[in-house]
């Protein structure tokens, strides 16, 4: 019996030594326990204590990862599962803008362009706007293309940066935001893709013009929405209108079949002053329809520039700012 035990012990020892050689495994904890004798260590490696320690370590690691990594849990890059609080951001921003600008003659706002995958530039933009000498700015309009691939995380990354702004911002939908489940993400996160708000004495008509991304199930541009805005179904006090869109008329995204109709509708709104757009990744000033309505196109964030508009009682002016 004793012989058998001896043989068994030797066999285990031989096996464990081999394992150790193969894996290069050395148990520090065992060495610390005073089992510094090489032979002993090799033998003890297979003991229950070490085994349980390794097992426990693995499961502890998993628990720690799970506990610390709930944010890392992602079911799909295009899942429409938003962080708590990232809902209806435009509505909240509009409420802030409207209350802050009420009964004001002069309103200053920033029109910024495509932020798609330009996180560093966008972060610098936020720092720039937050500077103490910029305190006259009332709000920021993000002209669409928050994301590059329509991924949910992209929307949240941009919002994480933009929520650092001292002033409220509203976001329009861009063509890149319509990829994958982007439309669903935008609707859940920011709200309607056509919306309007009044700042001071100016109404901002924000329109989805990314027609190429839709079929006829979704009217782009939405003339019913524009009609309702012209008809002022919701009574609001304002003197002029500024139309804001992502894709400009006669661009490849726009429904150019109705470009002139679109313009005719817009001109029916109360004192249309000018129009704003993004999308082109370059600074643009155009009178597309030769009718005195200017379309100002801001560049993308990569160019580190934005348009700063000042609306006064009877006119407006704008600056191109590079930061």
């Amino acid at each position: 019996m004793r012989q058998l035990q001896q043989a068994l012990r030797q066999d285990i020892e031989r096996q464990s030594t081999e394992t150790c050689r193969k894996t290069g495994f050395r148990s520090e904890c065992l060495l610390r326990r005073g089992l510094s004798d090489e032979k002993n260590v090799n033998f003890v490696i297979l003991s229950d204590v070490t085994m349980n320690e390794m097992k426990r370590l693995f499961f502890l690691l998993c628990c720690a990862l799970f506990g610390a990594g709930c944010e890392l849990i992602e079911y799909h890059p295009y899942e429409v599962r938003l962080e708590h609080g990232n809902h209806d951001l435009n509505a909240a921003a509009i409420a802030r803008i409207e209350s802050a600008c009420r009964d004001r003659d002069t309103v200053r706002f920033v029109m910024m362009g495509d932020a798609q995958r330009f996180y560093d530039e966008t972060r610098d933009f936020v720092r720039h706007i937050n500077r103490p000498d910029q305190d006259s700015i009332d709000f920021v309009i993000l002209g669409g293309d928050l994301s590059d691939f329509g991924l949910t995380r992209e929307f949240e990354w941009i919002h994480d940066i933009m929520k650092g702004l001292k002033v409220p911002y509203v976001a329009l939908i861009g063509n890149h935001d319509l990829l994958g489940n982007g439309l669903q993400v935008f609707r859940a996160m920011y709200g309607d893709i056509n919306f309007s708000f009044v700042a001071g004495d100016t109404k901002f008509l924000c329109l989805n013009t990314n027609a190429l991304e839709f079929d006829y199930s979704e009217p782009v541009p939405d003339f019913v929405f524009i009609e309702n805005e012209i008809g002022d179904t919701v009574v609001r006090d304002y003197r002029r209108t500024v139309a804001v869109m992502h894709a400009q008329p006669y661009g490849e995204q726009f429904n150019n079949n109705v470009a002139k109709v679109f313009q005719a509708y817009l001109k029916k709104s109360r004192n249309l002053s000018f129009c704003l757009h993004a999308h082109a990744h370059g600074l643009m000033v155009n009178d597309f329809f030769d009718d005195g309505i200017t379309y100002y196109g801001c560049s993308c964030m990569k160019d580190r520039s934005y348009l700063l508009f000042t609306l006064t009682e009877d006119s407006y002016r704008y600056e191109v700012v590079y930061y």
Partner: protein
Amino acid sequence: MKSFIISLLPALLLTWSADGAPSGSPTAERDTLPVAGRHGPDTEHPFLIRRVTLPALQMYPGQESLLQVAPTGYLREVPPLKRTPDRYVRRVKRYRDFWEAIIPEYTKLHFAGGMGLLSFGFGWDYGRKKQWETDLYIGFVPRFSSDRASATFTLKQNYIPWKIPLGGSWSFEPLETGLYFSRVVADGNFWVREPKKYGGPYYRFATSFRANVFLGQRITLGLSRKHFNKSLTFFYELSTCDLYVVSAFTNKYLNVTDILSLAFGLKFQIL
């Protein structure tokens, strides 16, 4: 009765040779003589008798052997037909062998990791130390704030270079790595090849296909014969997808934790 059979026999020619008279009990080999009626339309052999039935015919109780009635010249033995399995049998065998060869060796349950909330998969392990694994999954993503849930189909390749026995029936795999391609079937703006409406390359990527890479670790518990599964493996993985990598590489703002995704899973080894 006897006269009835006698009258029948000349008509139904017995093909039993006089020299090859039955010798004792029939063997299994000899029993493979052609079955009666097999050569139906053949005039030379209109009727065949199995060798095994001969003794019965010869030992008709209380009578002389029936076979004596037939003239000896009429009886000759036909060589047994060569009974190779016919094409149908071979075809079925091939079909069965094929499916048997690709029978999945394990099933997996995968939680998160950019391929669905839960994915159910099966797969095959191969290689000298079974260090390679190829899995196929079907998963689902709940609708959350959108209108519809979506389905995912994933092809995953794993490489598990080392296995450390922990004693008992436990073992530890300190590294698991590989890549997987996940296809999502959803209601949104998804494509594999860009639709024609863009008139050429426009976005230059496929919204419905994601390529992921991952690193992970596993721990395995061997199970006794009482269980259906041979062993149970628990694993966790950290992964990222192609578009996240592109985003992180072009920006300092994003760090590693922004683009990582954590997954957990179970592997049930059947074969």
